[in-house]
């Protein structure tokens, strides 16, 4: 037995104290009656004591029992467990429409997705409900959506709404679905094939551990499926190469593939085809063949980008593999921007007519490093440090600050705004003076925690020939290995990194290049502790200087506000107002600065005036594309944090099997009324007994002769 409203029942049961309290208060209020015939009263009491005590206890018991029954009736006493017995029942069917639910099932039902099977199962559940039962529907594929909630008695309409449920490319999130069920006493039935992609990887424990959840049994067989887990272009912003009408792109894309299902134990080849998707259309960008060894679930391949006749503009590079059980995960994409040229502002003063290398300043060296050849993809423009202007800087992709000492405080604020707008700012120490008094205004402008020395230190150091694998200079790993040992460092600006990331360090471990992105959607701030000056090091004279500076600028430009990636079903904060679809299959919407995509795809983001802001690439989450079969124990263990108890919904069985549960339902429907009736009968019995015990009729009868006597 359990209670639907335990608080009400508790209050009602507490009311049992009322008759006792009344009795106690009543006793205290009375004044004693002086009585002469006390002897006879005691004798009468002695004769009646047992009967009176019995009557009093019986009356008290009847009163308490009546109140108890009313409390239980009000509290909704039900037979059996509260979660499986109710009257009427509230059932919420949670349907898995996540990425894995799109997998097409085995041969006997070829072409039918797991989602279709779950919708059919949901119809069966709804059909098995009683006439007074209520049903709701929630889809558990991210983003979780309440199709019908709170539960409705219009089961036919609910069944029709099942037709509108479509699969998403998001992960399966049963915890979020159960969290939507905020009312107690509602049964939850989760319908899923429970293949590996539908099993929640990690669920926050304690969401509703007391809830009993009924689960559809897991699919018995896995499905062969390969997934494009990741597409990582070497550069996300690439300048076009070549003149005239035929422009080419020189870059490459790393593609990660994963597979699941019965074919894991076999060798497998998949052809990876790259496409460049832009507003103007989709063009092939190369292909390659990836191979899985036997029992290998993950492989990578680097595919060169080969685009014939590329056009500048925002877009995505998309990798597609051959069809298998799941279609949505057969392609993934990454933002890619093709540029005619990269606009770079070199902030410094260049002296003209220099003929001696020894007299070159930092501005000169940077100018050479940034544009070693004309029309090499970089449009370099010299800007005076004392004349920094917001509108002027807005036109540049990158700002290279060669003479920070000449920047005013207002100039630092202008630079900070430019970074906030998405530009790259690379700061080199001032080589013309020992005092580096620009450090403090820069730290203030960018709110840096890093500690920067005011003067360079004399050192004898070299460049560590390794860079971070996920850093700005990752693509420079080969050059660093070859060229870095030839560089010697004599002066260096000591910097404590604070919150900055060390991209390149010296052999002695001193930071050489540090970077930080002040805000998630801002550009990158890069700080070099080494000035390009021969008094500091011989780097300007070494071959490493050009690839190092080029890589800092080209890679630093990428990943700014214009290029966003995300996963289907996840929340992505954007500053855009609208989306412009690049791929027809994608399904996403922006609401209140948040982009939520149900289906993977690529979109151009636009601001309120319709201007293109950037590109967003949404992919299917690779872990959710698993198609391995799971057993019941595994499923129950994965769901343990969100379901205190797990029941299984057998295929040929309704949520609760027919006869027994229906009779229990009927009993539960009538139980409160029965309790009320019994309480009413007890009340009548109590009244009669109280009247009999108190001899109320005798009292009235005795008043009659007195009146006559008067």
């Amino acid at each position: 037995m359990s209670l639907l409203h335990p608080i009400l029942a508790g209050v009602g049961i507490a009311c049992i104290a009322i008759p006792v309290l009344i009795h106690i208060l009543f006793r205290r209020r009375r004044r004693p009656m002086a009585w002469g015939a006390m002897r006879f009263l005691r004798e009468a009491y002695r004769r009646q004591r047992r009967r009176l005590a019995l009557e009093q206890w019986l009356l008290l018991a009847l009163r308490c029992l009546a109140i108890l029954l009313i409390a239980l009736a009000v509290g909704g006493l039900i037979l059996g467990d509260r979660s499986v017995a109710s009257g009427p029942r509230d059932v919420v069917v949670v349907i898995d429409n996540s990425l894995a639910s799109s997998a097409e099932t085995a041969s006997e039902t070829a072409g039918q997705s797991a989602l279709v099977e779950q919708i059919e199962a949901a119809r069966g559940v709804i059909a098995a409900l009683g006439p007074a039962d209520r049903v709701g529907v929630i889809t558990s594929g991210a983003p979780v959506r309440a199709v019908v909630y709170p539960p409705s008695t219009d089961r036919q309409a609910v069944a029709e709404l099942l037709e509108s449920i479509e699969a998403t490319d998001g992960a399966h999130d049963p915890a979020a679905a159960l969290e939507l069920i905020d009312q107690p006493g509602i049964e939850a039935i989760i319908l899923s094939a429970w293949r590996s992609g539908s099993l929640p990887e990690s669920v926050a424990a304690g969401l509703a551990p007391e809830r009993t959840v009924t689960l559809a049994p897991p699919a018995e067989a896995g499905l062969d499926n390969a997934t494009v887990a990741a597409v990582v272009p070497a550069r996300s912003t690439i300048p076009l190469i070549g003149d005239g009408g035929r422009r080419t792109v020189a870059s490459q894309v790393r593609v990660v593939l994963e597979r699941s299902g019965p074919w894991v134990d076999r060798e497998l080849e998949r052809t990876v085809r790259l496409s460049l998707v832009q507003a103007g259309g989709t063009v092939p960008a190369g292909s390659a063949t990836a191979r899985f060894a036997a029992n290998e679930r993950r492989t990578e391949i680097v595919v060169p980008i080969a685009i014939d006749g590329a056009a500048a503009g925002l877009g995505v590079i998309r990798a597609t593999i051959d069809a298998d059980a799941l279609a949505a995960d057969n392609q993934a994409r990454a933002p890619l921007e093709l540029r005619e040229q990269l606009g770079v502002a070199l902030v410094g003063r260049q002296r003209s007519g220099l003929t001696s290398v020894e007299r070159f300043g930092q501005t000169d060296w940077l100018s050479i490093a940034l544009a070693p050849r004309p029309r090499d993809g970089v449009a370099l423009e010299l800007v005076d440090p004392a004349a920094l202007d917001r509108s002027r800087l807005r036109a540049f992709d990158a700002i290279v600050l060669a003479e920070p000492a000449g920047v005013t405080a207002e100039g630092w604020r202008v630079l900070a705004d430019a970074v906030e707008a998405g530009a790259l700012l690379a700061v080199f120490p001032s080589s013309s003076a020992d005092a580096q008094d620009w450090a403090q205004p820069m730290r203030s402008a960018f709110s840096l925690d890093a500690s920067i020395a005011l003067e360079p230190a004399s050192v004898s150091d070299a460049i560590e020939p390794r860079a971070r694998e996920d850093g700005l200079l990752a693509l420079l790993a080969g050059e660093l290995e070859e060229l870095a040992p030839w560089v010697s460092i004599e002066r260096l600006l000591d910097v404590e990194a604070g919150g900055m990331r060390i991209e390149l360090a010296s052999a002695a471990g001193r930071p050489l290049v540090l970077s930080i992105r002040p805000s998630p959607r801002s550009g990158l701030l890069v700080l070099s502790t080494l000035a390009l000056d021969t008094r500091w090091s011989d780097l300007p004279l070494k071959p490493l200087v050009v690839p190092l500076v080029q890589e800092l600028v080209r890679q630093g430009i990428a990943g700014g506000a214009t290029q966003r990636t995300g996963l289907a079903g996840e929340v992505l904060e954007v500053s855009a107002s609208s989306l412009d679809r690049l791929e027809p299959a994608g399904r996403a919407a922006i609401r209140d600065g948040v982009l939520v995509a149900e289906r993977s795809g690529a979109w151009l983001t636009r601001d309120g005036r319709g201007r293109t802001q950037g590109v967003v690439a949404i992919n299917a989450p690779a872990p959710s594309a698993g198609t391995d079969a799971a057993d019941r124990e595994t499923v129950a263990a994965r769901l343990a944090p969100i379901a205190g108890e797990v029941a299984w919904l057998d295929a040929a069985q309704a949520p609760r099997d027919g006869g027994g549960s229906q009779s229990a339902d009927a009993a539960n429907h009538t139980l409160p009324l029965t309790l009320f009736l019994i309480a009413a009968m007890l009340g009548l019995l109590e009244a009669a007994l109280a009247r009999q015990a108190s001899h109320a009729t005798t009292a009235r009868a005795s008043e009659q002769p007195r009146a006559e006597a008067a």
């Binding site: 004693p32 009656m33 006390m38 009263l41 009468a44 009176l52 001899h695």
Partner: protein
Amino acid sequence: MGRPACVLPCVASGPDSVGPWALRADTIHRMPGDRKDEPTPGPQRGQQPQGADATLYLHPQTLARLGSMDLRAKMIVEGVTSGAHRSPYQGFSVDFAQHRPYTPGDDLRHLDWKVYARTDKLHLKQYQQETNLDLVVMLDCSGSMAFGSRSFREASGAGRDTSPDGRREWAKFDHATALAAALSYITLRQGDRVGLACFADELKAMIGRSSQQSQWRQIVGALSMHPVEAPTQLGRAMDQLIAKLGNRCLIALITDAFGEIEELKSALARARHRAHDLILFQVLDRRELDLDFASPMPFEGLEGEGRLRVDPRALRKSYQRVVEEHLAAVEKTTRGFGFEYVRIDTHDWLGPPLAAFLARRNAQIKRSKYG
């Protein structure tokens, strides 16, 4: 239990007090045939104890009912003066009683010569000697007599809402003192002697028998001043009373008789043994008989029996049965000794039952006298 004794009724103090003890002229009713110039037996104007109000005890209506009655003893009691009551000592007075054969030694003066002339046998004439009635009012002053449920205003007929001591209820003791006063009044009017004995657990007060007119004043004064206290021990009090009575008397025992039957039986047996006549006036309050209360409440005994919380409605039947059993036992015991038993309800006027009792008693006397 330490219950303080109450005084029924209280004595007003001070010479200037008016009201309760100021006797009004119209409250004294002369009997038919009385001469106006003869002093009326009993209370006289100006003779009341200072502060005593006889109207509280001798209601005018009661006196009106009793005025035409003569109190006569059922039995022949021994009197010290001649009166209207027959003496058990057969002598040679006025009323002829019977003849008896002569035996040697008899006084020849009492020979009936006429019988001797007619029958030639010697017989003596015997006469009945009339004697006075000695009435001793034995009044129960125990704590249980303090109970009353009738309003004082209605019962006293004196136009007062409360008793002199502030009670609004007419207690059984009030009714008992009224009865005692009525009996004393009638007895004194007949020229007989009357005395008063107040008792509870022992004899508390005693006024010797006298037929003097000042006796009324003493009795009323004692009735009005005596406190009500202590539990009842009738046997002990009867012993003490009988020890003080030198001759046979009519004892008017006025009590609620709530004590044990065995004790009552013992007391009556002693009175019977000493050849006293006795009339038991059992004074009861109607509420004591009905237990007519509507809600549960604690009851506290007036004689220190402690407190008992009961629901009177639940106990009523059983209580009435117990009371009826007791009353029947009292009556049966009393009549078993050849004594009269009269039940008096404090909610009734005192006159009608008392008058009915006297009428029945006179009838009995006449039947026994004239066959």
